[in-house]
């Protein structure tokens, strides 16, 4: 989480203060992050493993079973998860509540829609952008920790498999609403699960095509959502998304 936050702070510095292009800055952080992770992966491990992290079993989070609730059929699986998953259960409604029901949440959304107006209202646009970008980075770092500590114990090269990009499509699918992101996450998680199930069931479809499913699914979701938004004229995206705020431009 700390790493995620630091990387996000860098992103914020580049895009908010230095007004660099957000897409390119995000890209460069990705390139650096994967390069640096693979560098560290070959250095940080113990000497017994040739300093490599690959192939090591990490100390992992053990699933915590909540007595009673976990015995419910189907839904019981929700209560046999590790601590990060439980944190997610809490974070989703909390984030939603913060965004839509509190004053700072309103400020946050107004910065996204119209930073000039927000500035005029006395909101510190630059400070807020920093704060929320860093906070978001910390959450994403938590996601990475979940991958290496819980989902597959241990680290391997390219462990994320483009998940960080797929979530962008997820956010679009959820129309920027944390509550709807549950459905988005279930959809993309479902695609993953279908892929593994099909593989395990021994179909004739080559594994490589099954592995394409998450990526093709992402493209399909993007196309459908963009199309639907154009039809319904209902856009979830903040109006000022991707635009650097320049106070001098007023």
């Amino acid at each position: 989480m700390a790493i995620g936050a630091t990387m996000a702070a860098l992103h914020a510095f580049l895009t908010v203060t230095m007004r660099a292009n957000q897409v390119v800055s995000g890209l460069s952080i990705t390139l650096f992050g994967t390069g640096f992770a693979s560098f560290l992966g070959q250095r940080l491990g113990p000497a017994t493993n040739n300093f490599r992290l690959v192939g090591l079993k990490a100390a992992r989070f053990t699933p915590i079973t909540i007595p009673g609730l976990s015995d419910i059929p189907v839904a019981g699986a929700l209560f046999r998860q590790d601590i990060i998953s439980y944190a997610v259960y809490l974070l989703i409604p909390l984030t939603w509540f913060y965004l839509y029901k509190t004053r700072p949440g309103l400020w946050l959304r107004s910065i996204g829609e119209d930073p000039q107006t927000a500035d005029a209202m006395g909101i510190d646009v630059v400070k807020s952008k920093y704060l929320y970008t860093i906070l978001g980075g910390a959450l994403i770092g938590l996601g990475g920790a979940h991958l290496s500590l819980s989902y597959t114990p241990g680290w391997s090269e390219n462990i994320t498999g483009g998940r960080g990009w797929i979530v962008v499509a997820l956010v679009i699918f959820s129309m920027w609403n944390p509550l709807r992101s549950i459905w988005g996450a279930l959809l993309f998680g479902g695609i993953n699960a279908v892929q593994f199930r099909l593989q395990a069931s021994g179909t004739n479809i080559p594994a490589n095509f099954l592995n394409m499913l998450p990526y093709l699914g992402t493209i399909a979701v993007l196309v459908l959502m963009t199309w639907w938004e154009a039809l319904s004229k209902k856009i979830g995206a903040p109006a000022a998304l991707g635009v650097a705020y320049m106070r001098e431009d007023k």
Binding site: S28, P206, E248
Partner: protein, 363 residues
């Protein structure tokens, strides 16, 4: 005292050169710190890297071998970025280009006169790259679908598809289970110049000059520049924005696809694993460091290729992870991005008192 940012009327010419150079130095220093933390002497490491990449004819040949695909994909990416079309699918376009060229070389040898097999393979590669880039371009212009994600997702799709082929139907039956296609007929081998450095380097250099001329001296290039700066202004001028974007992105993908075709016809002579070693992603750094200027791309590509080859070299010699090269490349981008502030803005120090800020007028 406080700092004031003013948008420059004209992009600063000197900053265009100084900022990338400084970024490279900053990256050297930052990587040096990382190296020192891990107990390696940065100076000897850099010296070994430089020697490995440029110190011998063999090393320089290997650097050129990597610089060719980097330069081509860099040109493709730079062209797309000039239109503010964030094509980060060069990796996939290169891969699919290699696949199509391999398909042509492997299965069409009997139907095509030998003299035409190599051109046909390269054309097939370019076409495949163009098609893979064309899909997101059409989605973007027709439906306004975000091209960043689509191009990126297609990378994974193209790579998985190529793996499917050389692990599956295209696998060499005589390959002792080694994943890879059969060797191409020699008619489809691109001649080499020295070492493994092949004729693709002349193509890459010629293409850089050609693109520069197209962008700076032709009507089409002028239209593309207007579209890149302001699609709205272009529309008022009666320029077909969507059509031109699609055309330019097809060209961008074709260039990357050609890089893939060169890789298989000149280097591996078969379709196998490791067709692209992240060239399409490094291309983004190259395009940005060249400030999207095609003429600068080959030189930056040679520098980046040198970092990669040098990185491999220090891995062999000093046991440092080869990923050090990618760390270094990643670290170049940050100061570069931060530095773009200086090319586009003028920074002045002003006193807090407003009257001084007013007195200090425009130049």
């Amino acid at each position: 005292m406080s700092l004031v940012f003013e948008k420059r009327k004209n992009i600063s010419k000197s900053a265009l050169v100084v900022v990338p150079a400084l970024s490279f130095i900053v990256s050297l220093i930052l990587t040096g710190i990382v190296l020192a933390v891990f107990g390696a002497n940065p100076f000897t490491t850099y010296a070994a890297m430089f020697h490995g990449a440029f110190g011998s004819l063999y090393g320089f040949g290997e650097t050129l071998v990597k610089a060719i695909p980097l330069s081509l994909t860099g040109l493709g990416v730079a062209l797309a970025f000039r239109l503010k079309f964030w094509n980060i699918g060069a990796e996939g376009q290169l891969t699919l280009g290699g696949v199509a060229a391999a398909g042509m070389a492997l299965f069409w040898g009997k139907n095509i006169p030998p003299a035409l097999l190599l051109p046909a393979a390269i054309a097939a590669g370019s076409l495949a790259g163009a098609l893979l880039a064309g899909l997101p371009a059409i989605l973007k212009t027709r439906l306004k679908v975000d091209e960043t994600l689509v191009t990126l997702m297609l990378n994974y799709v193209a790579i998985l598809f190529s793996e499917y082929l050389y692990y599956g139907p295209w696998r060499d039956p005589k390959g002792y289970g080694f994943p890879g296609s059969a060797l191409f007929p020699e008619a489809a081998w691109l001649p080499r110049v020295f070492g493994r450095a092949h004729f693709g380097m002349y193509f890459a250099a010629a293409l850089a000059i050609l693109l520069f001329i197209i962008l700076k001296r032709t009507r089409w290039g002028f239209e593309l520049t207007i579209i890149g700066n302001s699609p709205k202004a272009a529309r008022y001028q009666g320029i077909g924005v969507e059509r031109n974007i699609v055309l330019a992105i097809l060209l961008s993908g074709a260039i990357s696809g050609m890089a893939g075709a060169f890789e298989v016809t000149a280097i591996s002579h078969r379709l196998q694993q490791g067709l692209s070693l992240g060239y399409g992603f490094t291309a983004i750094i190259i395009a940005w460091m060249s400030q999207l200027n095609p003429l600068a791309v080959p030189f930056v590509a040679i520098l980046m290729a040198g970092i990669l080859v040098g990185g491999d070299q220090v891995q062999l010699m000093m046991g440092l992870p080869a990923a050090m090269g990618s760390v270094m490349q990643g670290l170049i981008l940050f100061p570069l991005l931060a530095g773009s502030l200086f090319t586009e803005f003028r920074i002045r120090r002003v006193r807090k008192e407003p009257k001084f800020a007013c007195v200090e007028g425009e130049k």
